[in-house]
Structures are given as structure tokens and as C-alpha cells.
């Protein structure tokens, strides 16, 4: 049982390294967010569940932490991506931009919230 836990923990830590590497290597904010969010969410998923499996008494609580993080982490990164777009960070290249129209059409409404 604790062997499975350790394997999951190592996988989780490896995904942390991957997330950090993505954060350093990707060229602009949006791609960085993508790499970092995905890798760290799965990393936490795996690491925390690994702890829960190695210590079965804590399983319910670790599950709670995992569920909480899987809900909040993507929301946080969506909000950050929107904020960076409004802040004016330019994507390094774009093949398509349909977001532009949205913020032009509701520019005034967006200014005050």
C-alpha cells in the first residue's frame, strides 16, 4: 500500500518539475498558464492522493483537498488569463482572435467591475 503511495508521490513531484519547466520555457503568459495549471493540478492530485493512500486514515481529508484544488485552480487561472488580456499582455503570435470582439462590444460595461 505504501509502495503505491510513494509511486504516486514521485509522479506528482515530477509533474511539479514539468510545471516549473513549462513556466520557464513557454513564450507568453497564456501558454505559461496552460502548462503550469495543468501540470501542477495533476501533480497535486497525484501527490496528495499518494499521501492519502500511504496513510489510509487520512484518505477522506486528502480527497477533500484534492477536490477543492481541482475546482479552484482552473478558476484561478481562467481569471488570471482574463486579467492579463484586459491588462494588455500581447500574445506572442495568434492565428485567430475572437476575444477581441467580446471586449470591444462590452467595453463600457467592463470598465467598472
Amino acid at each position: 500500500m505504501s509502495a503505491i503511495g510513494y509511486i504516486l508521490m514521485i509522479i506528482g513531484a515530477l509533474f511539479y518539475v514539468l510545471g516549473g519547466l513549462g513556466l520557464v520555457r513557454m513564450p507568453d503568459v497564456y501558454n505559461r498558464l496552460q502548462a503550469a495549471t495543468k501540470a501542477t493540478t495533476l501533480g497535486t492530485f497525484s501527490l496528495v492522493l499518494g499521501v492519502g493512500i500511504a496513510q489510509p486514515v487520512w484518505f477522506v481529508k486528502t480527497l477533500l483537498i484534492v477536490v477543492f484544488l481541482t475546482i479552484t485552480n482552473p478558476v484561478g487561472s481562467s481569471v488570471l488569463a482574463k486579467a492579463s488580456y484586459i491588462y494588455g499582455v500581447k500574445p506572442f503570435k495568434l492565428s485567430k482572435n475572437e476575444l477581441d470582439k467580446l471586449y470591444k462590444s462590452r467595453g463600457d460595461e467592463n470598465a467598472d467591475n
Partner: protein, 82 residues
Amino acid sequence: MNTLIGILIVIGAFFSVLRLIFGPTTPDRVVAVDTLNVIITGSIVFIAFLLKSELYLDIALVYGALSFLETIVIARYLEGKK
């Protein structure tokens, strides 16, 4: 085994700190802090495992909640600062 996991976590955190220091724009730095927060939450759970103390799980939960709040507030601030 524990040392290996610890080293891997520290390497991940180190890369985020690099982005935090060199990030050209403010959103880059905020993204780095957000990533760092998730890594810290995970490592608090790992510390709970190392010290065999259930108390740290509660700390991890509260830290996760607070870091989420922090991300939202900073994002709001950036949106208004345009």
C-alpha cells in the same frame, strides 16, 4: 525516497521562482506566484506525511483557500489597473 520527492518539489519551486524574478510583465509574476502557491499546498501535505501529523492537512486546506482568494483579488486589481 522522501529525499528524492523533496528534491523534485524544490526543483519545481525553483523554476517558478526563476519566472517570478525574470518575468517581464506583472501578469507573468502573478502566474508564477499562483503556481508556487499550488506547489506549496502540495508540499504542506507532504510535510504532514513526513511528520505524521494530521494537523498539517488542515493547514494545507486553509492555505489553498487563501491562495485562491489571493489570486482572484490580484487578478481583479490587474483588470482595474489597465
